[in-house]
Subunit: 336 residues, 2 copies
């Protein structure tokens, strides 16, 4: 899934070139490239599928030349994750009816890819032999209010995989603290594992209209006319919640250094820091600066003096200097 527009990282991420296509960590690979790299040994390039907005297809081809051109699915309109996942899974099933599938966002990071592969392999082994819907549940390290949670029963199904009790929407801080203390609540990273029959059957059961629409999407013209009319709904609402209520969902608790890189604060967390707690990507020269997060990989040279706790970013001729306490206003700044 590579359809996001990443507006919170303006000007680094823009609707024309959003964050999944940016080398946001300054490591030489973009987030979508890192996402593909992470599956080395699990999934050969010819088995990858990318669902993205039509305007990003060229970027995907350029950044991931190994993916077959007909595996890049161009959404004519953004309809949230349920139609996106349904379309990909219908296509995969048509090509390979017994496929075992991992669904992942293209814009998250994983600091421990080896552990990621171990967890994914466990889940794939389970779904290869069952009609289970498996979600990867990230063990929470803080009472985060920005994520949805998976409530595990704690009851083991196979190996580390547990039966899920329910999905929970983003909590307030008090509730998030209770979740953290409870120990059975996990972050929902939007990473799902299932086989092609399981997910197509589940969509037929819980969202029959969506399934009918998918059945009809055969040609390019079908996509243009049908996809934009699909209900705009997340896979969590459409499938995971009703399936969990019917006790058909499992989770693999995991701890592989996952972050959704949802804001500048989380990027600052993931960058290496100098002695003054600055994290910087690019040719950045700082004097009397502290606690800054700087990203300007295209700029020839950036000199910063006397800044404490600022976000500084340049991309494509657009420049932002903003105190970190005000980062929730960046989307508004970018649109004015």
């Amino acid at each position: 899934m590579a359809g996001g527009i990443g507006s919170r990282f303006w000007p680094l991420s823009t609707p024309e070139y959003p964050k999944q296509f940016i080398d946001i960590l300054g490591c030489g690979r973009t987030l979508i490239q890192l996402t593909v790299d992470r599956f080395q040994g699990i999934c050969p390039m010819e088995n990858f599928w990318v669902v993205t907005n039509a305007s990003y297809v060229d970027i995907v081809r350029q950044q991931l030349p190994g993916i077959p051109a007909n595996h890049i699915l161009a959404e004519p309109a953004a309809r949230n994750t349920a139609p996106c996942i349904a379309w990909a899974c219908w296509c995969i099933k048509a090509e390979s009816p017994d496929a075992n599938i991992v669904v992942t966002p293209a814009d998250a990071i994983v600091m421990n890819p080896e552990e990621f592969r171990r967890v994914i392999n466990n889940a794939l082994e389970f779904t290869a032999e069952s009609n289970a819907i498996v979600t990867i549940g990230i063990k929470p390290s803080r009472p985060e209010t920005g994520y949805g949670y998976i409530k595990s029963t704690g009851r083991k199904a196979q190996g580390e995989i547990e039966h899920v009790d329910a999905f929970k929407e983003k909590p307030n801080l008090e509730t998030a603290k209770e979740y953290l203390a409870d120990g059975n609540y996990l972050w929902n990273a939007g990473i799902f594992v299932w086989n092609a029959n399981t997910i197509t059957s589940a969509i037929k059961t819980y969202k029959p209209t969506l399934a009918e629409q998918m059945d009809k999407m055969k040609t390019y013209l079908d996509v243009q006319t049908i996809f934009p009319n699909c209900e705009k709904i997340s896979i969590d609402y459409a499938v995971m919640e009703p399936a969990a209520a019917a006790s058909k969902v499992f989770t693999h608790p995991a701890d592989f250094g996952w972050s959704d890189l949802g804001n500048w604060a989380s990027l600052h967390d993931k960058l290496s820091h100098d002695e003054q707690n600055n994290g910087a990507v690019g040719n950045i020269h700082m004097y009397e600066c502290s606690n800054c997060v700087v990203h300007a990989e295209d700029a020839k040279k950036v000199v910063l003096q006397g800044l404490d706790g600022y976000i500084v970013s340049e991309k494509g001729g657009q420049i932002l200097v903003c105190h970190r306490s005000e980062e929730q206003r960046i989307k508004e700044f970018s649109q004015k």
Copy 2:
């Protein structure tokens, strides 16, 4: 004179493209273009001469296409103002032996060009009929320690033009305050008026070696071999001081809104300000910013939040954010 490298305005001004060639005021004209514009009605385009570093000749041609190509003198090396002025005046005299000449830096600004023209015309009338060396003396508005001073006798020679007593180097603050209180001290703006015979004779008298070198500079090859060997000396030391000692120098006190735009503080003074005392050139959007000076005419969009008293500039992919109190370190920043 357009040979400066303007290192204090990095990254706006660089050795590759220094400040005289920049639209530093955001008015649509560069400083050298504004300098030429200022002489409208006084000097036709075919009578302009520009002395600049060889590496800036193409920029001069591009920005001032009306100036004859052979009037752009390419210095093979920077030798301060005496050789620069001598070369131009020797060339002018060869082309037009009775020429009446104004010498001016190309990187200063004048807020009242009409008054400038009145003053220059007064001076030109005087030098058309005498062998006077006339300097334009700017009436000081503050005890500035960054300029040299002209000490007038206060004794009138013709109209507003007065006999000069002496030239004074940049004073310390105490001395500058005395100069301001005295009333007979004027800022030396580096603007000189004289006829071709006067200046060439004066150089022969006070710097005979330089005059001999100029006499020998006939071909391109002469320039390459002779000019770099000229003594590196200012016109003030070489001619004005000894000529003043011999009572041959005059000054026209003037008040036409002159500034040498020597630093970011003086640029901030000259820009129009918003209600928070910010001066900005470019597509600049400021939130909770005050007392800033911002110049980023090439950037598509700049968003600044929560900055008080900062310099922010972008040019050619180089970015600076620096507190105004630290601007004397900018040259050092640019070189590291």
